[in-house]
Structures are given as structure tokens and as C-alpha cells.
Amino acid sequence: MNTLMDVLRNRPGWVEVKDEGEWDFYWCDVSWLRENFDHTYMDDHVRISHFRNHYELTHKNYMVKNLKRFRRQLEREAGKLEAAKCDFFPKTFEMPCEYHLFVEEFRKHPGITWIMKPVARSQGKGIFLFRRLKDIMDWRKDTRSSDDQKDELPVENYVAQRYIENPYLIGGRKFDLRVYVLVTSYLPLRAWLYRDGFTRFSNTRFTLSSIDDQYVHLTNVAVQKTSPDYHPKKGCKWMLQRFRQYLASKHGPQVVEALFSDMDNIFIKSLQSVQKVIISDKHCFELYGYDILIDQDLKPWLLEVNASPSLTASSPEDYELKTCLLEDTLHVVDMEARLTGKEKRVGGFDLMWNDGPVSREEGAPDLPGMGNFVTNTHLGCVNDRKNQLQQLFHSLQTQKKASS
């Protein structure tokens, strides 16, 4: 079920390059990037699927730092109200350097649950929950071998984050949302939001009493797959359309609009916070997988941003989603140079930010604050990408013929 290979191999006019041949497009690993990017020469037209220092957004400790800094800046420039729009990530402290700040916060709110997450690992590995300082004291001791010096830092960085104890539950189960955001440049910031995504359910019923049961609390599919309850036929995902419908029938469309608009805010603010830090190389683009958690008050929280969201398909439906996602990504990256650059929608992607907000209305000026401004996002809405692509490419062809 390798979606990436299938999509690339099936793309008309594209040829796979083996070994040391010259390439125009590379969907690379972050590890390759780290080792080779700096000394690889790329022609203007070449495209690569990561930004050099993506970790500013996708490693939890850097992201938190950048967000905090951005928030302070917003408060200075635009006031407390505007800065409060950045309050979508739970209180987080980098370990071990912010350990003392963490302890201060910990003591202010006794009895709440915290979650410890490794900065750079994925798929739910290395994560655990705790309520007592004693738990991390033990962990601190464990992570140092007997040979280490006392003040040597542990090999891996962690963050301690306030655990969201009142997640929204469906059928008694906790879930999170996986949303795809494509960034084609940071300076200026151009970001696209994919209409499809999915809701990942935990296989077991949510209860705070079993913190040790990581299967309850972690909704990553990878963790769920190892849960004794897991039956592969069940899958444990809903498409976002299903989720949006469910919420609409329960809370009404206005509430759902507000929730999704809050999520738009998360995507944009998080990207803005790293805009000046990320090396905006014109060769780079990146497809991010955002993990969002909704709490019982229907407030969305940002859990993390993934630079390499999983592209393996767990079911036929999943395969369909991911292949379409990748196809549309390649359409937006536009190696074939078909697009004019003025498109607001390509397949399942809607242009969410173009050096400024993008309005849904055709031809309307993109000015927020005007009464009728609605952002050009359609997360969880109908994705009639086939039709749209047909019409788009047809009209592009006609335009080209007319101008030649």
C-alpha cells in the first residue's frame, strides 16, 4: 500500500531515477536532507519535499519556543486580544532546561495530568503520562546510565505538556484529527489546506483513571495497532466529512463553522510563528500533517505538526485519500508548469494563505475585517476534486492556446 510510489510512477511524463542519476524532483527523507541538502546543487526548477530547518515547526520543543516568541510579539504589536489567538497549545516546557519553570507551574495546579513527549519521535513512541513529580524523578534517573556524569544531559530532548483532561468524546472514545497543510513557500507565506483528512479514534473508552494504559490516551494509529483490542478490519478512522456531519447534527452548523475557523487560525498562526526562522528556499515545499485535539468546549488544540506524515494506507479508503492528496500536492508544486499562479483551488487543496488571508469569494478583495470575509478553507467539506481538476486543466489549456 505504498501510495507515494504509486502516485509518482503513474504520473504522466515522470521517470524514476535510480541511484546517482540527475533528478528534478525528490521526495526525500528528513535524514537525507540533514546530510545532503547543504552540499547539493539544485537548478532553479528542481523541487524537494522538505525545508532545510523544518524542525523549527515540527520538533515540539522548537515549535513551542517559536510560538511563545510569536505570541509575545503579537502582544506587543497588536494587543492582548490578538495574542490570545495563539493560545491553542497546552502549556509546554522543554526538558530538561525548563525543568524549574515546569515545577513552578506544576505546583500551581496540583493533581492535573501532564504528558511527557520526546521531541523528535513519532508514532506515539516514548510518550507517557504522569501526575506526580516523583514519576519524572524516577524517569530522570532511568534515562541516565550509571556511567554518565551527573550533569550530562540526556541524549534526547523531551517536552512536558499539560494533558488535556476533557477531550471531546464520540462513542465514549477519545480521538484526534489529522489535517494536511501544504506550504510552497515561507517568504512570502503560501499555504494550502486539504479538504480531506481523518479522525483517529482510540480503541478503548476514555477514562482518566488509567494513565498507564497508553492505548487509551494515544490516538496515533501506530499505537492503536499494537493495542490488544485492535482488529485490523475495524480501522479506527473516520473521514473528516463524517466527523463534520456528526458535529453539525449534534451542535448545529454555526458551532461547527466556529470550530473549523478556530482550526484555520491554528494553521496560520503556527506557520506565521516560524515564517522568519525557516530558510525559505525556493526549491522547497513541505506537506505537513497537523494533529489537532478537540476538547469538550469545542476548542481545538494543536498537539503537533509532522514533517513526514505517514503515507502508508491502512485501508482502501485511506489509500484513496492519500493518493489523491499526493496527486494534488504534485499538481500544486506544478513541475509541469501548467498553473498561472492565481489559482485559489487545485483539486482538494484550497489556498488558505497567500502572503495574507485569502477570501472564499471570487474576485472579492482579500481583506479581512470587511463584513463578508470568509476564509477560503473547506476542511471536511465535499471534495469534488476530479471535476474541479478537469475544469481547471481544461481552462488552462484553452488559455494557453488563446495566448500562443
Partner: protein, 513 residues
Amino acid sequence: MLQEESDLSLMIAQIVQKLKGSNLYAQLERQAWASLQKPEIRLESLKEDIKEFFKISGWEKKLQNAVYSELNVYPLPSHPAAPPEHLKEPLVYMRKAQGSWEKRILKSLNSMCTELSIPLARKRPVGQQKELLNKWNEMGTDEPDLSLFRPVYAPKDFLEVLINLRNPNYENGDSLSFRTHLGLIQVPLKVKDIPDLKECFIELGLNTGQLGIDDSTQVPPELFENEHVRIGQKVLAEQDSAAAQQYIRQGSPTALRAELWALILNISSQPEDILYYEQLKANVIQHDLLVDSLIYKDVKLTASNDDYYFVFEDYLYQVLLCFSRDTSVLGHFAYNSASPPKSYIRGKLGLEEYAVFYPPNGVIPFHGFSMYVAPLCFLYHEPYKLYQTFREMYVRFFFRLHSISSHPSGIVSLCLLFETLLQTYLPQLFYHLREIGAQPLRISFKWMVRAFSGYLATDQLLLLWDRILGYNSLEILAVLAAAVFAFRAVNLMEVTSLAAAEVRINFTRMGWK
């Protein structure tokens, strides 16, 4: 004229009789007594004043809704000399067929019982009761060993019975003519043809706006959607059942659906209803029934494996286990051709004083039964609300899908309607499929028995069920099934086997692509 009048007064008498025993009657009485305190009520014009009071306070509307509900559910009274069986099913051969089918089911259930040495019912020991109560909200986490249980029957077994139905008074003759019905159902029931259907389902015509079509992204909402939503809100504000039923023929907006259905089904969640549900829950805790295992097995096999409904597994147990203990469901057997199976207290076989209905609600679940409940989980989240809605849907509609009767919404008529539509309007396709041994009904039967639950994406399914409620009929299921075949007609002409036909018809849950 006289006949109509006497029919009407008979009907009125029946409805009054029914409503007298209901909660609404008690409430109206209380309200009437309380109103005597009001200054507007004068002794000289007591009757008119109280009527006026009812009108203003909305109680008249509630009464209207209740009457409307009765009219919808109960068949019109027939000849005063007709015995009660005729209300269940007027045709003798159908009654007989249903009777023998029931005998078979019961035999199957009893033999499973004996084989596994499990009693049909037993009282739970106190320890187990406590455990179950603790786990009530997450019964899905239980993984009891259900390997020895089998569903009592599956839709395809039922289809075989229907195929063999014959009217002994009807002689078809051996010669084939243009009238010969080529399908599997060989009973001469009257079904509607397209002109009749067009008239009946007039609101589904091309000139009328529909939700699900005319609210798609390409259509500006000012053309239909906005106004339709506004009317829906008005209907809800008026709390008028009849208006809601008319309104919903064009589909219900997602946000209004839960309330609209409750209004049409005349469900209001009074404290008595919540209490009743809690009592049923207590019954479940105290006694363990064999059918419970059948329910568990069914949920695990169907809903839990479903991509969309697996999330609601726990709710399904909470509804279905209580449903099987609900003796108020027995009421619907007055107009259902089926009869509740009887069982006898141990050692008292045949003695009527020791007969009980088994299960208490008289409904034995079959493979796929839980799928009737699953879509409702999208609308209702309090268990008692979910329960009431399901129960009402069952005693109004779903029971017809698995009992043998001549009713126009009964499964036999639906099958015949489906086959007739196909044979009349797609004769080439029908003939071709028949020739390759792929009788269309063999493919579509399971869709209709389940009212398409599990075969359509939930949003589409709910739009379909909107119309079932709106027209108070299940005929639309047969029409949809035929439409699916019409849609795939070109593809289906190429297949050469039943298996290939199933694949080609490509009725996947991803909706239409």
C-alpha cells in the same frame, strides 16, 4: 355516505380508546383541572373555554400530533366482523407462511439452546449484576466467547422462504406470456407502477427542490436551501407532526433532523419515558437472556466491523438489550403478521398459564439487526432518546422488512415492486441477469431488508430515511434498489455471473463517484 360515516365514527372510537390509556390523556386531564383556577374559564361556557385554553397553550397541538400518529401507525378499521387476524394479515396463505417460518426460527433457537445447554433466560448472580452495572457504558470492551453462537437466521434464508411463497388459489398457467413475472417472487400482489409512484411521491419530482441534491456546493443556497431551512425551523416552532411529515419529504437539514424525527414519531422525552428506560436497564442487569448473546454476536459481526458505526458499539448494546425486554413492543403484533414466540416455564410445556413470550418483546434478532439502530446514533446521544426513536422506528417500519405479509410496505411487496419495475423498464437487463443466474433480487434483497443501512453512506442513508418518515412507506426502498440497477445498467450488461454482478454494481460505501 352512511358507510363512510360509520367508518369514521368507528375510527374515532378506536383512537379515543387507545389514547385514553396513554400518558397524554392523564396530562390533559390534569391540565383541564388546573385550568379551572384561571379567570378565563367560566362555568357557563366551561367546554368552550377549556377548549380555547387547550388551543392557546399548545395542548391541542399535542393531541393533534397524537391522533395523527395513531392514524399513521394503525391500519384503518376493516369490516366490524373481521377477526383480529385480519388486522395482522388478511390473506390466509400469507399467515400460514409466516406461521411456519416462525416455527422454524423458534426451532432453530431452541436447538441452539439445547446444544449449548444454555437456558433461554436466567437470573444473574448479584456479583455479575454489579459487574454489568459498572460496565454499562462500555459493554463493547467485553469479549465473551461467542464462537458457538450462530445468528438464528440471515436475510438470505428469509429470501428462500419468500421465493417459495405461493397463493394456492392462483393458477398462473404454464405458458409464458408478456404477463409472466420473470422474477423470484411469484405471488400476485398489487404493486404500484411508475405513474402511480410518480403521483405518490410527487414531492420527489424534478421540479421540486431536494436536500441532498439542490443544496450541493454548485447551487446557490438562495435558490432552495435557505428557504427550506427556514420552513423547517418554523415547523419545529409550531410543533406540528403532520406539517413536519410533509416537510421532510424534501429532506431534512442536518441540524434539524433529530428534532424533526422526534416530532414526526411523536416522541417526547417525558420523565416517565426516562424512568421506563431505566427500568428496562434494570431488567437487563437482573436477567440474562440467550438473545443477549445473539445481540452481542450480531453487533460484533456487523456494526463493530463497520467503518463508520464501530464508534457507537456501546450504544448499540444499551439499546438492543433493553429493546428485547420491552413488553410494550408486544403491542405492535396487533398489526404485524408475525406473532411473538411463546415459551413455557420449565416443566410446564403446553400449559397456557405458564406461557411467556420469548424474548419479552417478541422479536428475535437476526444477522444484521443491529444495523437498524446504528445510523440513529448519529442523531441521538442520550440512550433513552436513542432507544425511544429506535423502538418507534421499529414498530412503524422495520418490522415489515422481516415478516411475511401482503402489506404494500411489507418486504414481499417491496421485492415484487423492485422486480416489476426492473422487468418493465429494464427488460433487457433483467433478462440478461436472469439468464446468467444472477436474479437481481438476490443482489438487492439484503439492501432492502436492512433499509440500506450499511450500504449507503450515513448522510445519504439519513436522507433516505427522511423520505420513509415523510411518506410513511417503505416503497422507496424498492424504487432506490431499482434505480441502482438502472444506474449501473451498462456495466451490468457485460457481466457473466452473479459474483461479477455483485462486484460490478459497485455499491460501495464511498458514495457515488
